[in-house]
Symmetry: C2
Subunit: 409 residues, 2 copies
């Protein structure tokens, strides 16, 4: 049973409020369809950070042709049974386009690393095992057939797997794809996220604010958070408390997006435009046993999931990090946020019945201190934080040196 009172953002919660775990599981179910991504073909230049939609098979043998592993001389190994051997140098093969002439027995050809090994040759003698001669060369050490020769297809044969499905492409993967001559790769589409910030009090940063107005911190910060989590922002819109404007923003968002995130306007007070527009659409609006971020809502509009956070910047950032970022990161093939136990540098008190996500600053690898208070309007502490300190709902007091779970931001 969700508490439905006129409960402000920092209101005490009842024991019947859903837990963070329950709400997180609910959002995970709501966002589950996002895991089945459509795919698209992108050029390698635009593919870094994207996730392969399927296994990539090499269209070619790698190496593409039999080539020399050394600077030296291409020889027929059986010509080098009596050593030292002095043989005529009939030419030179650079690492460059073109098929060299067949090597006749009893002759050698100068060859550079990566150059095509001519037919008729079956080994490379490194230059340091010779006198480096130009017209004729004297070879001091023999080589067995195949030595210092990189055979065509010896790294990978055409049709063999170069990359698995689900790989988040980094530079080394692009190197392998490009080496196989692949210019485009099939990747999953990124999740398109709409960001709507709501509130009659909001005004854009960078301009003046009159009394009663608050700078909209959530628009720019949610956009950045969405991008950092590997998704793309389809639309970012700030609306006041006007229902028509909110409904229009919502309709535009669901038409172009896979997920809509809103901040603000979901408390139980008056003029809560997100709640008032979403509730008739069947939204689930309520209070979660957490601080910051108590008021939370979810809905599905035209089949598109909508996740609504409260409007205070700290609440919005923490809510995104706890409820949505893990799912987007998974879809984008990113590593999970690092959860790590650390030791408290000072005593901490926590309200009972709510899971607290305090802002923490690392003092060294092992210790963490709380920065700013627990209240959701305190942005200075947010700016100074390196981690969230995750305090269980039943914990009310922790002492200096006690171990706490931290989430690296």
């Amino acid at each position: 049973m969700v508490s439905r009172g006129l409960d402000g953002r920092d209101a005490p919660t009842t024991h019947s409020d859903p837990s963070v775990e329950e709400h997180a599981a609910h959002i995970r179910r709501l966002l589950e369809p996002l895991g089945s991504r459509p795919t698209e073909s992108v050029p390698l230049e635009a593919a870094v950070g994207r996730v392969t939609a399927s296994a990539v098979l090499s269209p070619v043998d790698l190496p593409l042709f039999r080539n020399s592993q050394m600077d030296g001389f291409a020889v027929l190994a059986s010509d080098l049974t009596a050593l030292p051997a002095t043989l005529p140098v009939v030419g030179e093969i650079a690492a460059a386009p073109g098929r060299p002439a067949r090597l006749d027995p009893g002759t050698v050809v100068r060859i550079m690393t990566g150059a095509v090994v001519p037919d008729g040759a079956d080994a490379i003698v490194p230059v340091e095992d010779t006198d480096g001669g130009r017209e004729t060369v004297t070879i001091r050490r023999g080589r067995v057939s195949g030595e210092f020769v990189r055979d065509r297809g010896s790294d990978l044969r055409a049709g063999e797997q170069l990359l698995a499905a689900g790989v988040r492409l980094a530079s080394r993967h692009l190197a392998a794809l490009a080496a196989a001559g692949i210019g485009r790769v099939e990747v999953t589409e990124r999740v398109r996220v709409a960001v709507i910030t709501a509130g009659a009090e909001l005004v854009a940063p960078g301009g003046p604010a009159t009394i009663g107005q608050v700078y909209d911190a959530n628009s720019v910060a949610l956009v950045a958070a969405v991008v950092q989590a590997g998704a793309v922002v389809s639309v970012a819109k700030r609306v006041t408390d006007d229902h028509e404007a909110m409904r229009a923003a919502l309709d535009a968002a669901v038409a172009t997006s896979d997920l809509v995130i809103t901040s603000g306007g979901i408390s139980m007070g008056e003029y809560e435009v997100v709640r008032e527009v979403l509730e008739p659409l069947g939204a689930r609006v309520g209070h979660i046993a957490m601080q910051p971020g108590g008021p939370q809502a979810t809905a599905t509009v035209d089949g598109i999931p909508v996740v609504s956070f409260p409007g205070n910047p700290v609440s919005t950032q923490v809510s995104f990090e706890i409820f949505v970022a893990p799912i987007l990161r998974e879809i984008a093939g990113q590593a999970s946020a690092i959860r790590q136990p650390r030791l408290l540098a000072a005593e901490v008190r926590s309200a009972p019945g709510k899971r607290q996500f305090l802002r923490g600053r690392l003092l060294d690898g092992a210790r963490v201190e709380v920065v700013g208070g627990p209240s959701s309007h305190l942005v200075a502490g947010l700016a100074a934080s390196d981690v969230l300190i995750d305090i269980p709902a039943h914990t009310t007091q922790l002492r200096e040196g006690d171990q706490v779970e931290t989430v690296t931001l």
Copy 2:
């Protein structure tokens, strides 16, 4: 003393070759001027991932004005000495622009979370401590002066530090900057890196290759690696073995860049265009006791550092990761690559006298297996790798279960 023989890319090295540590230290000195970045002002929308050039002070008090922490009633606390108290509700204040009228003693006003607390009021009574009346309200519980009121400047005063210098901006920092009304932030300029790939054999991926031609894997992969390390690519150019073209590419690169990275063309063989152009300019060209990546060069051209890697894709990727990425990441405020001991899943042999960076795949959190051979042309192993396995130069054999140092890619 650098070995100067016609030493191919996989040539054995002598004990006089500089070590990886020596070459890394040399490159660090060469790139030291990059640490002193010019600064630029960017809008918050473009600031994620950038590094603050100086401490950012809040231009405003935060909160901007005295506001309510709760949905409830703004009161004069001294009116609530006898309880329950029934008082006239003289109006309503939403979180919206505008200065509310002064509250007369003996009256209350409905107020929403975040709304301006009127002069004359000094506390907020949460709605759940009242009967929620509209014309008059009966209050069951008193509040002391200041309770549930967020004072102007109680989070941060104008002129106090909001962000330190050197902070890599993430969404939470943007939230704090925006909340303080800041629309632009002074950040350090990113390092502008030119990428030149060289070799007569190179051809662009995505098209056909004739025998002797090799797809240019390094251009797209170095560009991606540079961007992943927090720098920007000023120019990316592929040149053949033509000296004029190489010199023109180099001149264009140094004119627009803070750092030039080249791949290919620095072996001691013939037709090594990077070496042949850079050596007359005073380049340091030689062989480092490492595999892959033995041939390495550095130069300074028109005051701009040039770092040259060998052309095999594995050599290029490993060289960038070991010699350049750590420095670029530091400048960009990124975390260092994770170095972590892991256990070998199978025996490994390593050539003596060279530090080996083998490609490794993680089998679980603790164990790692080698993928592909040590040779620098093996891109399949590169594509399958999660880590580099760092084998010291003096080590020639390691057994299953032995501990090795790994660098997470």
